[in-house]
């Protein structure tokens, strides 16, 4: 399945957002997720299915002004 993760095209096997995070080696710490510009809560990731062409954002804490 071809999707975009943080703007990059990727081919992934993960059927859900939760599985995708494990496939891409994100730990379960301080990250936030969105699917097609909609926020996905941590508790909803494992039940959020992915489909061809989806755009996933995975964000982490960073410096800010």
């Amino acid at each position: 399945m071809h999707i975009h993760v943080n703007g990059k095209a990727l081919e992934v096997a993960a059927p859900t957002l939760g599985a995708l995070l494990r496939e891409l080696d994100y730990d379960d710490g301080a990250i936030a997720t969105a699917l097609n510009q909609n926020f996905v809560r941590k508790t909803d990731r494992s039940k959020t299915p992915l489909k061809e062409g989806d755009a996933v954002e995975i964000l982490v804490p960073r410096q800010g002004g």
Binding site: D25, Q37, L59, R62, Q63, G65
Partner: protein
């Protein structure tokens, strides 16, 4: 002598009482160690943070978040760089989960060169986020009508710009900023963006603004830790000066030394 010695003068933001009126950004510091020391020197109790993309396995975000938590300060996440209401709202929702706070510094940028806030999008996003339970700190201009609408949308704090983000130009429009202060005497107003020097921060505080947020001016200084200290002193001095009630400026000179009793005063001038 500190402000505490001058009578109670705490700042209240959404029910949170703060003793420091200098908020600090966390970006662009030469190193994490200098960031930590600068925040301590600034005596800031609130720091701004953001969310950004990171590759899996990098853990830079986790390290940064650990550093901030060790500082023991309150975080104000931002939606920096968002160009639409949708982007800003989604980023705010993501930030609330990660940083575990209802506070959000709401930025909806409308113009690339000046990074000027899109006040129309800002009002719309603020309204949505307030309904979702956020406590919104909108980064706005000095526009009175936009400010009125933001307050109507549920904002209890406003963050007007001094000048464009990162420009260091100070208070570009003092007349409008004074009008804003006079128009909303009881709304906490924090000058955000464009502050380049401690004197700019002091000027904002002397005008009666409630606090100043500074990032680039401290982080990009030759000695950020020393500059953080300078900003802390400037904000405190400006605040005390405001509370002491500044004299009115005049167009003409007025002698400060008594005129009566001046020697030779009875001699005609040649």
């Amino acid at each position: 002598m500190g402000v505490a010695d001058m009578g109670a003068d705490s700042l209240e933001l959404y029910g949170v009482e703060l003793s420091s009126r200098l908020l600090a950004g966390t970006a662009q510091y030469p190193s994490p160690a200098i960031l930590s020391r600068a925040i301590a020197a600034a005596k800031a109790e609130v720091v701004t943070v953001s969310l950004r993309r990171e590759s899996g396995g990098s853990r830079a975000g986790e390290h940064f978040w650990s550093l901030i938590r060790e500082l023991g300060v309150r975080v104000l996440p931002n939606t920096a760089g968002c160009r639409s209401v949708k982007e800003a709202v989604t980023t705010a929702e993501m930030a609330r989960e990660v940083f575990d706070t209802p506070w959000i510094k709401l930025e909806v940028i409308g113009e690339e060169d000046s990074l000027q806030p899109d006040v129309f999008g800002l009002v719309e996003a603020a309204s949505i986020l307030t309904r979702e339970g956020f406590q919104v700190f909108p980064y706005t201009t000095e526009d009175l009508v936009a400010a009125e609408k933001l307050i109507g949308a549920g904002c209890e704090v406003l963050m007007p710009w001094g000048s464009p983000i990162g420009s260091g130009r100070g208070l570009n429009n003092p007349y409008a900023l004074k009008s804003l202060r006079a128009h909303f005497p009881s709304v906490p107003l924090i000058i955000d963006a464009g502050i380049g020097a401690p004197s700019h921060a002091a000027a904002a505080m002397e005008m009666g603004f409630d606090a100043v947020l500074s990032n680039t001016a401290i982080a990009k200084a030759g000695d950020p830790v020393r500059m953080a200290r300078a900003f802390a002193l400037a904000v405190e001095a400006g605040r005390i000066g405001y509370r002491a009630d500044l004299m009115q400026a005049r167009d003409m000179a007025a002698p400060s030394t008594p005129v009566i009793g001046r020697a030779f005063g009875d001699l005609a001038r040649a």
